[in-house]
Symmetry: C2
Subunit: 356 residues, 2 copies
């Protein structure tokens, strides 16, 4: 399986995602500043993968500086490597809590180094385990079988599944959310074909999802985003599975631009539409999607791709990075703990009790 970030002895190795798919090169970080560089230059991207990298970076900062002002400075530089990445701070806070615990307990500094590395490794492993759990629950939801009931006839189904953006190993600790479900289905020999939308403007589907599917020998076809309707018209599609950036209490879901269109098309063609995300993506402070701010990015991304510009240079463009899919278009939100159907009248709203 592809690993976006790996701890090896005293360093962190990154699969350089800026060079994918056609060049597989490794970026090695021996210091927390080099980890910050990997994050800010998008050598590593994807919210969970950034959080894991930050945890490893924290451990490297301690190895380098020990208990000192220089250590605090290094952690502060790490924390601002990408301004809006929530998971980056999550990874750092996780490590800080453990560091405070160890210092409170009077653990010697050399021993703390070892313990911090262990915590970061555990943080990474927990992410992979969570994704695998999402995969198992997604399989149940899509095939309609319970965990204790892996009926061979259900497993004998061959599904055609559409996905959007990259929600795979490269975006997470190494398995994936929506793409994790597809991996699990493939392991059970239940995938006929995956249709990966290229995901303009940044083309995560064409670059990263196609790369992951190729690597794992999962049969797939790449398509431009505007082909999905004609695909559903001409082929029987069994499910659409996408990730999520933020989910409100009522199930409204912010995800990569293009998700809303897929959800509306799914309704038209009666295709089940699933969102895959850990429960940490559900923001209990938000009653519904209208409260989710949508980031608008630079217009240059729309005028071309990287150094290739095809639109008039003076063109005006619109570039919302996300859209918000209303809960009533979502068949199920697959988390590591359960599958939530926001249209179920008995459980229309997510509460903190539900997570327990």
């Amino acid at each position: 399986m592809i690993q976006p970030v790996t701890w090896i002895e005293d360093r962190v190795e990154f699969l350089d995602q800026t060079k994918l798919p056609n060049e597989e090169s490794t970026f090695v970080a021996h210091t927390s500043d080099e980890v910050a560089e990997a994050i800010s230059s998008m050598i590593v991207r994807g919210a969970p993968a950034i959080g894991i990298s930050a945890a490893y970076g924290f451990a490297l900062a301690w190895l380098e500086h020990g208990d000192s002002a220089a250590f605090e400075d290094a952690v502060n530089r790490l924390a601002v490597a990408r301004p809006t990445a929530v998971n980056l701070m999550h990874g750092i806070k996780f490590m800080q809590q453990h560091l405070q615990k160890f210092t409170r307990m009077g653990t010697p500094n050399e021993k703390i180094s070892e313990l911090l590395i262990g915590e970061a490794l555990g943080y990474h492993e927990a992410d992979i385990a969570m994704n695998q759990e999402i995969g198992a629950r997604g399989l149940e939801a899509i095939l309609g079988i319970g965990p204790e009931d892996p009926r061979p006839e259900a497993l004998g189904q061959k599904l055609k599944v559409i996905t959007h953006c990259n929600t795979g190993s490269l975006a997470t600790g190494g398995y994936g959310t929506a793409l994790g479900i597809i991996r699990t289905l493939h392991k059970k020999k239940c995938i006929e074909e995956v249709f990966a939308c290229e995901t303009r403007p940044f083309l995560q589907g064409a670059r990263l999802t196609a790369y992951e599917l190729s690597k794992d020998n999962i049969p797939y076809k790449l398509l431009t985003d505007n082909m999905a309707a004609w695909l559903m018209q001409t082929e029987k599609i069994d499910a659409i599975v996408v990730g999520a950036d933020r989910i409100a209490r009522n199930g409204d879901t912010a995800n990569k631009i293009g998700t809303l269109a897929l959800a509306i098309l799914a309704k038209q063609f009666k295709v089940p539409f699933y969102v895959a995300a850990p429960t940490t993506t559900i923001d209990l402070e938000l009653a519904d999607g209208s409260q989710i701010p949508v980031e608008e990015r630079d217009k240059e991304e729309v005028l071309g791709y990287r150094n290739t510009v095809w639109a008039p240079e003076d063109a005006v463009a619109w570039n919302p990075a996300f859209d918000i899919t209303p809960a009533d278009l979502i068949t199920g939100i697959v988390t590591e703990k359960f599958v939530w159907q926001p249209n179920d009248p008995d459980f229309p709203e997510f509460t903190s009790e539900a997570i327990l």
Copy 2:
């Protein structure tokens, strides 16, 4: 107004569309073979523009060779410049009929040259006039006003309109079908803003429509195709206007890939959805859209854009050039003769009588 093709004295001048939008250069054809080159290399593209170029090419062949086997050979080379372009043959047949008429009448060869140039110019003008008529009828349909009733309050409306692909001056004799309607609305000061979908994979929206809108100072924004749903969610859109490649008797419409998705989104957001095309686009031999063959093009177009490749080199891709929008998703088909509402129970099917 932008002119994709212009007859000047004894030559044809093309605005080289392969170099647009960032370089405006002219390709000059003094011979029919050079016109064939312009067509085959896509210096000129768009069905009506190809037909007009072929008519001029025919006149050039006569100027060069007169009544000879060499003339026939030159016309044959012109006829195969693009294999599937119906309008190319339409332009040549139009000229052949006139040539036959002139020779039957015993017109001297030098005089025939002059007359053929006149016919080609007339063919070109007729296309522009037809587009302007489509524009006028589109204005009526969208604003809800009759030709005799240009109520100032109706004209005072400011509309937000989405379009797809390029259906403008560059694709036609010099005005446009769907973009012709937008031009007419703009002339009447009824355009607030045009939203141009980039139209992957070949990016006609980003390259050509954005160029035309910039040139004509029509306010617009460029967006990736997958942003249209979020646009309709966040802005009140008054109409979607697209072109057509082929329309069946029941109104099912083949057009550039991505059109079907826009039509389904229009239904979801209750936005009127118009198709603009001359009556010659309606194929009376086809009962419905299921009989329209959809061309699949080379996968390389999906893996990147021209020499820029972003997907894995071994990626499998799907590349249908068109999709078919069912008539029940179409508010009106705007032709040069009338606006046909395929969902009108009194006129559900197009007949040849209707054209008369």
